[in-house]
Symmetry: none
DNA sequence: TATGAATGAGCGTTCATTCAT
DNA sequence: GATGAATGAACGCTCATTCAT
């Protein structure tokens, strides 16, 4: 009805479909979203979906890829590796949270969906690993005197996990981006130890 | 033979069913697990499941409740609020990770499953909030000179998020509990700012 | 409606389903028959079909097996191996054609259907081989002075092929059983070489 | 490259399409062959198929017609009606089996396919009738003293049926053409009655 | 002439759920 | 209390067929 029946070049249709799919998946979840619903949302017929993407699983995979790509690109674009460490941290956190905030419907839930099906564990893990890698390198380059054996990778896992959790709050409107960013920066930068009169405890294995 | 027409007291049957359900859900996911499979695993008939739990969704909810309860109880039991702050942190982190490590099949996947279905968002959020609350209070009580306006709750969100991310690594066998715990404690306690010879960077928001 | 919704023991339902399936397959062919149509014909729901037979292919296979079994049993039952050769031939031919004639809707078309799908080539060939074997042994035992090296098996193939072709005519009503039988018997017994000096057998329908 | 936008005369295109269709139908069967597959094999676009043949059914019908025509022509060409009866039989049988043997992929399977779909029963029957007629006339002309009322037509049905069955064995490689031919000739000429007193006709390969 | 783009319609299959016993 | 038997409702997917260019 609304503009539907035109002959569109392949590339355009592809985006149209992915848009619809991301939209539906993010709202209703992978299993609760039928191909019929996606086709309807995209204002095309179901066979088109199959012609372009082969199967529901592949369609979802394509969504995942696109959104993941966009996300990583967006965050990476904001980061300037020549900044001093703390600025770097700040920029990254803000970029991360801002992206989620702006694209909440799409990415955050998509991400959530993907986590739940064995079939996408691989893609998700891969995507998450890309982010973790990015953060890991960021940490490494930002740490002047790294203790030998520091597991930057696992540290990145923790940071990203924290980021995702906070981002979820942001994406559901329960927190404001910049406040959340500030809180994370402080938390990660200074640690819990205590502020003014910091007396470092002797590291205990 | 196995199962047969035994008359079992309600409480026993309930656990038997929940055990089977948790087991199946955790291995195959919510949608990929059929009521048939659960009934078979529990060695009872399908109508029993419906008699006791009404629907698949409610059954899953019951699983969630039980596992969440066990988890919270277990972690809380290990915590001694009279400990000094850092010990408290350490105890909590270790308790958290240990539980996940020990009950990976059950809880971690269950948790993962629940996250992905709109239907359980509520239960999951509720559960997570209980944990966040716990951690939030922990933080509050452990901080000697809280800056006014510190959002302990959001800080707890970040910590729990980090914990979950690390826990996932632990649960998939990609990390060892105590190493992961130590890393988290150090990270959270000291922050990224710098370790031994901390020289604060100039930029300080 | 018409007697449908009763709780029937497994064995009864199985026959009910096979009856319906054979009926529909024979009338409309394998591909043109939908599981819906079979379920409707059997006055049961589609899931029952799947519960009992697993898939359309397996259901068709079960039809094939049953009908093949009935056919072979029926023909074999009529044959008395102690008869003299020509009587044996006559009995066999009549038994063969009579069965087809009586069960035309079921077997002949089922047989025809099966031939066309790669998936059933095996079953059909197996069934046909059983018949060919039977006929082959019959020929062997009925031939007094077999020429060395006589390929009774291939001869049986030819006879069965002829029988099938004639049977098809019978099954479509284009020929009458006993006339057709007589013709086949004469043809096979005397051959084409020449008739004149033949002494007609007593039995003449 | 291959195919492209060539402008070909109608007749050439038609053969190109039929070749492709026969090829695909014979390998995969009627239902298992999609119009897409045929178009791809013919290296033309699907609308062309529809332009030339209107529908899948009609396309298949055209295949049937062409192949049937070729078959009948081929067999008829080999037959010399002035030959003595037994030679005639031999020639016909050999022509029949040889054609099948040489064109197994195309015709035998096509034939098999057609038999199974109600939609083509008519065409197939028509084709088979042409062959039966041919054989019937052959029999009639070859029989010196026909008993009054001899049903040459039905006899032809039997012979053709036998031929088809043996041909199938030949086409699957389970029998050699000339051996099979010899066997059929002997069987039909002499009959099963018994050999001993047989006076072999002069021609004996 | 020739085709890429598009779809209506239908099929095999599965599953949560409920009677009747 | 416990279950074998049964089904309504969907869903993923494919295919013959047709426009619009």
């Amino acid at each position: 009805m609304a503009g539907g029946t035109k002959r569109l070049p392949r590339a355009v249709r592809e985006q149209q479909m992915l848009d619809a799919a991301v939209q539906m998946f993010s709202v209703n979840g992978y299993h609760e979203t039928s191909m019929d619903a996606i086709a309807a949302q995209a204002e095309i017929s179901k066979p088109m979906l199959y012609l372009y993407y082969g199967s529901k699983e592949e369609l979802f995979g394509a969504c995942l890829d696109r959104e993941l790509g966009r996300f990583v690109d967006s965050v990476r674009a904001d980061i300037d590796f020549t900044q001093p460490a703390k600025d770097l941290l700040r920029t990254a956190v803000v970029a991360f949270l801002s992206y989620i905030d702006t694209n909440r419907a799409s990415w955050m839930v998509l991400y959530t969906q993907a986590t739940s099906s064995q079939a996408f564990a691989h893609t998700v893990r891969e995507g998450r690993d890309r982010i973790v890698d990015l953060v890991g390198r960021l940490l490494q380059s930002g740490t002047r005197n790294p203790e030998p054996g520091t597991d930057f990778d696992m540290m990145a896992v923790a940071l990203v996990g924290a980021g995702e959790a906070v981002a979820t709050r942001v994406s559901t409107g329960d927190a404001e981006v910049h406040e959340a960013a500030e809180l994370m920066i402080n938390l990660f930068w200074r640690g819990l130890k205590g502020r003014p009169a910091d007396i470092p405890s002797r590291a205990d294995a």
